[in-house]
C-alpha cells in the first residue's frame, strides 16, 4: 500500500480553522489512552486536566498568568516563523530577559538608587532591560545567520543551554542571597521592582495585561503595515521579496529582534510578576511550549491568544493532576509534544488530501 498526498485545489478557510481544533481533540484522545494504559481513570484525569481548572477562580487566574508569557513569546515567534526563520531558542531569550531585567531589581534592592526620584522608574526600566536582554541574546543567532549563513535552528537552540547554565551560575554565585541559608536563590525583589497584583488575594498581576495589548498591535502590524507585509513576503516568496526591493537581511534581523524582545519581556514579567526573585530556573519550558502555541494559533496573533490559553490550561491541569492523581509532571510535556505533532499533521491534511493506493507497484 502506498499513500499519496494530493494538493487540494482550493484552500478552505473553514478547513484551516478546524484543523487545529481537530488536532486538539485527537491529542486529548491519545492522552486519554496513555492515562488508561497507566492504570488511571481517563474520565477522572480529563476532569482534573480540563474541567476543574476552568471552574475555579484561582485556577482561572493561574491560567491567565501562565498564558501571558506563552502568548508574548509565541507572538514574537510568529514574526520569525512567518519570515521562514526558525528561532527555537525563545527559552534562552526568555531567561536572558528575565536575568537582565531581574538584575536591575537586585541592584535597587533595599531602596538603593531611589534617591529623590523615588522608585516609580524601576519597574519600567526593568521591563525595558528585559526586552533588551532577550533582543540582544537573539541577535547572536540572527547575525550569525545573516553574516555567515549559520543555521539559526542550531545556534538558537544551543544558546538555550548557555542561558540556563549562566543563570544557574549567577544565582548560585554573585546573585545569591547572603542571608538565604546558602540556598541558590536571590533576595526577594522590593515592591518597587514587583508588578502589582490586580485584585487583592489573587494571582493576576499587571503584566498579564501586556498579552492582549501585544496581540492587538501584532495583528495590526501583520495585516496593515508594510513591515508586516515584508515579513510575510520574505517567508512566502523570498525571490519576489528581493524583486520588490525589500532587504531580507534587515527583515531577518528585525524579526529576531521582535521575537527575542518579546521573549525577554515575558521573562522579566515572570521574574517580577510571579516569582518575585531570581531562581536557578525561572521557566517551566515556556519558550518551547510557545512554539506549540505559535503553530496551534496558525501564526496569527488572535489564534495565538486562544492557543496560549489552551496550553496554559494543560500546565495548570498538569500541576493539579500531579497533586490529585499522582500523575508525573512529564506527562504534561509529553501531551504538549503529542499536540504539536497533531497540529502539524492537521496542517498537512488541511492542504492535501490523502489517496491510498492498494496493491504493489510493478
Amino acid at each position: 500500500m502506498r499513500i499519496d498526498l494530493d494538493a487540494r485545489p482550493q484552500r478552505s478557510a473553514l478547513r484551516e480553522i478546524l484543523a487545529p481544533v481537530g488536532a486538539l481533540i485527537v491529542a486529548i484522545l491519545i492522552g486519554g489512552i496513555v492515562i488508561a494504559l497507566m492504570g488511571r481513570s481517563t474520565i477522572e484525569a480529563f476532569d482534573v486536566y480540563f474541567v476543574e481548572p476552568l471552574s475555579q477562580s484561582y485556577s482561572l487566574q493561574a491560567i491567565a498568568v501562565k498564558a501571558s508569557p506563552l502568548i508574548l513569546i509565541a507572538v514574537g515567534l510568529a514574526f520569525c516563523y512567518r519570515a521562514n526563520l526558525w528561532n527555537i531558542g525563545a527559552e534562552g531569550q526568555f531567561i536572558a530577559g528575565g536575568a537582565l531585567g531581574g538584575w536591575l531589581g537586585l541592584l535597587t534592592y533595599g531602596g538603593a538608587y531611589q534617591g529623590a526620584l523615588g522608585g516609580w522608574w524601576i519597574l519600567a526600566a526593568m521591563m525595558i532591560l528585559g526586552a533588551l536582554g532577550g533582543l540582544l541574546y537573539a541577535m547572536i543567532p540572527a547575525l550569525l545567520r545573516v553574516w555567515l549563513n549559520v543555521s539559526e535552528i542550531l545556534t538558537s537552540l544551543m544558546l538555550v543551554y548557555v542561558a540556563q547554565l549562566g543563570l544557574d551560575w549567577l544565582v548560585r554565585g554573585p546573585w545569591k542571597d547572603p542571608g538565604g541559608h546558602n540556598l541558590p536563590v536571590s533576595v526577594n525583589l522590593d515592591p518597587e521592582a514587583t508588578l502589582p497584583i490586580l485584585f487583592d488575594g489573587g494571582s493576576l498581576h499587571l503584566g498579564v495585561l501586556l498579552a492582549p495589548i501585544v496581540v492587538a498591535i501584532a495583528a495590526v502590524v501583520f495585516s496593515k503595515t508594510l513591515f508586516g507585509y515584508q515579513v510575510r513576503l520574505v517567508g512566502s516568496a523570498p525571490k519576489a521579496a528581493r524583486f520588490g526591493g525589500f532587504n531580507d537581511r534587515t527583515i531577518a534581523i528585525a524579526a529576531f529582534a521582535i521575537s527575542g524582545g518579546l521573549a525577554g519581556l515575558a521573562g522579566v514579567v515572570e521574574v517580577s510578576g510571579r516569582i518575585g526573585q531570581l531562581l536557578p530556573s525561572i521557566s517551566p519550558g515556556y519558550g518551547f511550549s510557545a512554539i506549540i502555541v505559535a503553530f496551534l494559533g496558525r501564526l496569527s496573533p488572535v489564534g495565538i491568544f486562544i492557543a496560549g490559553l489552551v496550553l496554559a490550561l494543560t500546565f495548570v491541569g498538569g500541576e493539579d493532576a500531579q497533586i490529585a492523581l499522582h500523575l508525573p509532571g512529564d506527562l504534561t510535556l509529553a501531551f504538549q509534544g503529542v499536540l504539536l505533532i497533531c497540529v502539524l499533521a492537521a496542517d498537512v491534511l488541511a492542504r492535501y488530501s490523502l489517496r491510498f493506493t492498494w496493491g504493489a507497484r510493478s
Partner: protein, 523 residues
Amino acid sequence: MEQTGAGGGQPETPLLAVRGITKRFGAFTANDNITLGLTPGEVHALLGENGAGKSTLVKMLYGLLAPTEGEILWQGAPIKLPNPNAARALGIGMVFQHFSLFDNLTVAENIALVMPPSERLQDVPGKIEGISRAYGMGLEPNRPVWSLSAGERQRIEIARCLLQDPKVLILDEPTSVLTPQEAEKLFETLDRLKAEGRALLYISHHLEEVKRLCDRATILRLGKLVGTCDPRAETPRSLAALMVGSQIMEVRAAGAHALGKDRLVVSHLDAPSPSLHGVSLKRVSLAVKGGEVLGIAGVAGNGQSELFANLSGESLAARPESIVIDGAPVGALGISERRALNAGFVPEERNGHAAAPDFTLSENIVLTGHGSDGLTRLGFINGVAAKDQSQKVIAAFDVRKSGADPLARTLSGGNLQKFVVGREILREPALLVINQPTWGVDALAAATIRQALLDLCARGAAVLIISQDLDELFEISDRIAVIHTGELSEALPARGTTREEIGLLMAGMPGQTNASGEGGHAH
C-alpha cells in the same frame, strides 16, 4: 503520407495508439476521450497551447501516469504501462524538454547511468560513437557535460534513447533551447530516424517547424481533441486558429514613430558569475532610446537572468556609471530606487519572482508599487488604493480570475502574466525591462502582451525585451542583439537581418556562413 516502414505490421495498424483515453485529476479533466495512432515511418505532431493536455498525454504513453479511462494499444493489442521501464522495454523512448544530465560527469557516464546493469562501462563509449556516427550527432563520449552546448546536451538525451533501439520516439518541445542551426541539425537526425521506419511523436508549438517536419498533426485544446490534419496543407495562421479556437489578432506595429533620447545606456558592464556553473557578464554595452524596442536573443542559460538582475538592480554593478537610466547612473542603486526613476521590470518567472503566489492580486500590486502610487502612508498599506489599482490592471488587460481578489497562484499562466505585465505598464514607465514576456503563455494572452508593449513604446517609453522566442523578437523589436556566454553582440536592425544571422550569433559564431551549430560553446 503514410509510408510502409521497416517497423513491421500492416501500414494501417498503428505501432502505438490510444483509444478514448481520459485522464482526470480530481475534478479537472486534463485529457478527454482522445484517440490517436502513430504509424511506422511517420512524424506525428502533437499541437496545443500550454495546458491543452499534451504533456499529460505523453506521460501516459511513457508510463508516468495511468489513464483514468480508455486504453493504450501496442501494434493493435491493449497494453498497460505501469512505469517507464515497461514503456522502454516495448520500444518507446522519450526525450524530455528539460535535460536530466549530471554536469560533472562525461557524456559516456551520463549515458551509462541509464543502461541496464548488464552493460559494462568500458563498452559504452564505443556504442555512443557508433550511434553518433550513424545519425551524424558528433558526440564525444569523454567530454564532461558542463562543457557542452544545449544542442549537444540534447543529442546526449537522444543518443540515450537510441541506444535502446526504440520503435517509437517521443520528443517534448525539442527545439525550445536550440539555435535555428542546431534545430536544423536535429531535423536531419529526425528525418533519418523516420526513414528507418520509426514513429516519432513531436510536441511543439512552433508551427513552422511542424510544417517542415511532420506528416500529420493532432491538435488538442483544453484537453480535447479538436482535429487531425496534414500540416503541410495548412498555414501557420490556420494551425494557430485551430489551437486557440479563434483567430488571433495580428500585433500591429506602431509604424514609423520618432525615436527619443537614450533612456537606458549600459556601458562595459562586467558582472562575475554568482555560482560555479553560472554565467559572467563580460563588457556588456547597449543603448535603448525612447520609442524603441530592443530585443535580446539567445539560447537559455547564456546570461539572460544575470543581465536582467543587473538591469533591475537585484544585483548591483561594480561601477555606478555602467548602467544609466535617463541620465542618472544607477549601477549602485537597488531596484526600488530604479523604480523611483520610473523604470519598470518584469522577470521571467511569474510565480515566486514577479508575483508572490500565496498573496492576493492586490497585495501583489504593493510588491512593485509600494514606493509610489499612494499605496503606502507612514508605513501602513492603503488596502483600498491597492485594490483599486489591481482592478484597473484586471480591467485593462482582461485578466480572467475567480473571486474578487484571489491568490496569485490561482490564476492561469497567461492571466498572471497579463497581470504582472499590466501592473508595470499602468505605471507608465519610461523604461521597461522584461524577461521572456510570453514564455508558456497562451497565444491570445501573448498577443495582448506584445501589443501592450508596442503601445507603451509608441507613447515614448524604451522597452528592452529578453526572449528566447525569435519569432517574437522579429515581430516586435526594432533592433536585436544576441547574448552568448555572457557577451552581448552589436544590435542589428530587425528588418534586414535574417534568422540565420541571429542564429549564428546565438551559437557564438559571428560572421560565419557555414551553419553547423557545432562547437561554438567555447569555455
